[in-house]
């Protein structure tokens, strides 16, 4: 039995987010500062308290819109003196920055870690319609250990791979386009109650069915919406969190496992890596799936939300389609509210940390018009394909 203790000594104590725009006229660094300064203040801390900084994926591609700001730049800009810092792409998906920061605190390296994620894909899309965050953009031949197996076949976006997972899910479990649509419809309904969401106009099943096919069976409305935004959270050691203004949201359990190759075609095609992460997470806690008050589940593509629901045992495997049908169960007043701020499909592709921000917003009952019933447990999960990480958050 792996020691289950460590992440329980870490809590989220503050959150912040810049404007979420399509596009923003603020610089990537300004968006980042808006998010980070708000999070530090929300936690009741000052700059001098921050002794760690963490980011996924970091600025691993020289200012590319997928992640234009990393820890290195921010340390100097904020004048931080850190005892630990880290960023990078390789890890258990978009929550890797949170997971790494929590581990640094659990290991005793630091007390208050600033975790952030900035993205400016809306600005980039204005000039580069074909841009894909995933594919290797090297000039000449593809030397990527992963992407060289896909780009020669003109797999030029993650949507092509996710579409093949969706098609297989349809084949094995009888999942339908109408069921898939419900993720988009639920997100849009929730976004209508979120002033910061990108798309807030009502959406009908007819609208969904009329939306452009991108890569069968996925339509435009199955794909998340690019935005410019930065999101930040503060992680604090539990004993340092006690005297801060917000009720600590403990990291009850982390899921970061990958028990398959890091590959898009050599993995379980109807669960991807979600089940590896989810099983690890539940093995590290006595909390049960039935206790979850909101589920903030990655919706870069609608099918991923459904696979996460199954992996996290929020519904039986293969039955997510029937579970979401009609939308009642996953609505704000349902038994399992999902993506309460509109997710990435309608809220905006903040890419990972947005889900953590919303989970805390709900746990702290700051949701305003979209606030669900009071609850103590939230599950956050992020990633698709081989990228998968999950967090179980508990407000004591």
């Amino acid at each position: 039995m792996i020691d289950r203790i460590h992440e329980k000594n870490v809590a989220i104590t503050g959150i912040g987010q810049s404007e979420v725009r399509r596009p923003s006229d603020k610089s990537a660094m300004r968006l980042t500062l808006d998010a980070c300064l708000e999070a530090i203040a929300d936690a009741g801390l000052t700059r001098d308290d921050i002794d760690g900084i963490s980011c996924w994926p970091g600025d691993n591609n020289n200012g590319d819109a997928f992640s234009p700001v990393g820890p290195n730049a921010l340390i100097g800009t904020l004048g931080l003196k850190v005892n630990w810092y880290g960023g990078g792409y390789e890890g258990p998906g978009p929550l890797a920055g949170v997971i790494n920061g929590a581990m640094a605190i659990a290991a005793g390296l630091c007390r208050h870690v600033l975790v952030f994620r900035t993205i400016t894909e809306a600005t980039r899309r204005q000039t580069d319609k074909g841009a894909s965050a995933l594919t290797n953009k090297t000039v000449g031949r593809d030397s990527s250990a992963s992407w060289q197996w896909y780009t020669p076949f003109n797999v030029l976006s993650g949507v092509n791979l996710m579409a093949m997972y969706a098609q297989r899910h349809f084949h094995e479990y009888g999942t339908t386009s109408e069921q898939l649509a419900q993720i988009a419809l639920t997100c849009r309904a929730n976004a209508a109650l979120n002033p910061k969401a990108i798309y807030r106009t009502p959406l009908t099943m007819d609208d969904y069915m009329a939306s452009r096919m991108i890569s069968t069976p996925l339509r435009m409305l199955d794909c998340d919406v690019h935005c410019d935004a930065s999101t930040a959270i503060i992680l604090s050691r539990a004993d340092a969190a006690r005297d801060l203004p917000n009720p600590p949201v403990r990291i009850e359990a982390i899921g970061a496992a990958l028990h398959q190759p890091w590959s898009w075609d050599q993995i379980d095609l109807t669960a991807m890596a979600t089940r590896d992460a989810a099983d690890m997470m539940w093995s590290r806690t006595d909390v049960k799936p039935s206790e979850v008050g909101t589920a903030q589940l990655y919706d870069g593509f609608s099918i991923l939300t459904m696979m996460w629901m199954e992996a996290l045992r929020l519904c039986p495997r293969g039955e997510s389609g029937r579970f979401v049908e009609g939308g009642r169960r996953i609505a704000l007043d349902g038994t399992l509210p999902v993506n309460t701020n509109g997710g990435q499909l309608s809220g905006g592709r903040t890419h990972g940390l947005g889900y953590v921000h919303e989970a805390c917003t709900q746990l702290w009952q700051r949701g305003g018009a979209r606030q669900v019933a009071p609850h103590q447990v939230s599950v956050v999960a992020s990633g698709g394909g081989p990228l998968a990480g999950s967090l179980l958050l508990v407000r004591d």
Binding site: G130, S132, G140, R141, D142, S143, Q148, W149, Y150, T151, P152, F153, N154, V155, L156, S157, V159, N160, L161, A163, M164, Y165, Q167, R168, H171, R212, M213, I214, S215, T216, P217, L218, P261, S263, W264, D265, Q266, L269
Partner: protein
């Protein structure tokens, strides 16, 4: 339709150039007597170094697929079919490819297919067509 070509290495060369002799070459472990993909200098199952390319029949079936309609680049001829094909030799021995020579609407999961190579420079890209 233009294609981005893979950078060839000692490990992947047989896969990408097998088509020069009309044969699809997949890496095989002599100790396990099993194929594996992608090719590498070691068997991921038993860690034997006694591995190398071995020709396969080129027959298989569609495990899943998608019809791409999005014009990611001006030179693409959409719609085109992207698929994962499982080879007849071994369950789970599969990779991403294109299904060609067929109306995209006709492609289906479990459809039997066979390999057909498209040469671009020194790379023979393994594509698949419907098998009779």
């Amino acid at each position: 339709m233009t294609r981005k070509l893979p950078a060839l290495t000692a490990d992947n060369r047989a896969f990408w150039q097998g088509g020069a002799t009309g044969q699809l070459q997949m890496h095989h472990c002599a100790a396990c007597a099993r194929f594996f993909q992608p090719p590498s200098p070691i068997c991921p199952r038993c860690l034997s170094l006694d591995v190398g390319p071995r020709p396969v029949s080129g027959h298989g079936k569609v495990v899943t697929y998608t019809v791409n309609h999005q014009p990611w680049r001006p030179d693409l001829k959409e719609p085109y079919v992207i698929a994962i094909v499982e080879l007849a030799e071994q369950e789970g021995l599969q990779f991403v490819t294109n299904v060609v020579g067929i109306d995209p609407d006709q492609v289906a999961i479990d459809m039997p297919v066979r390999v057909r190579f498209e040469q671009v420079e020194d790379v023979w890209i393994p594509l698949f067509e419907r098998a009779a």
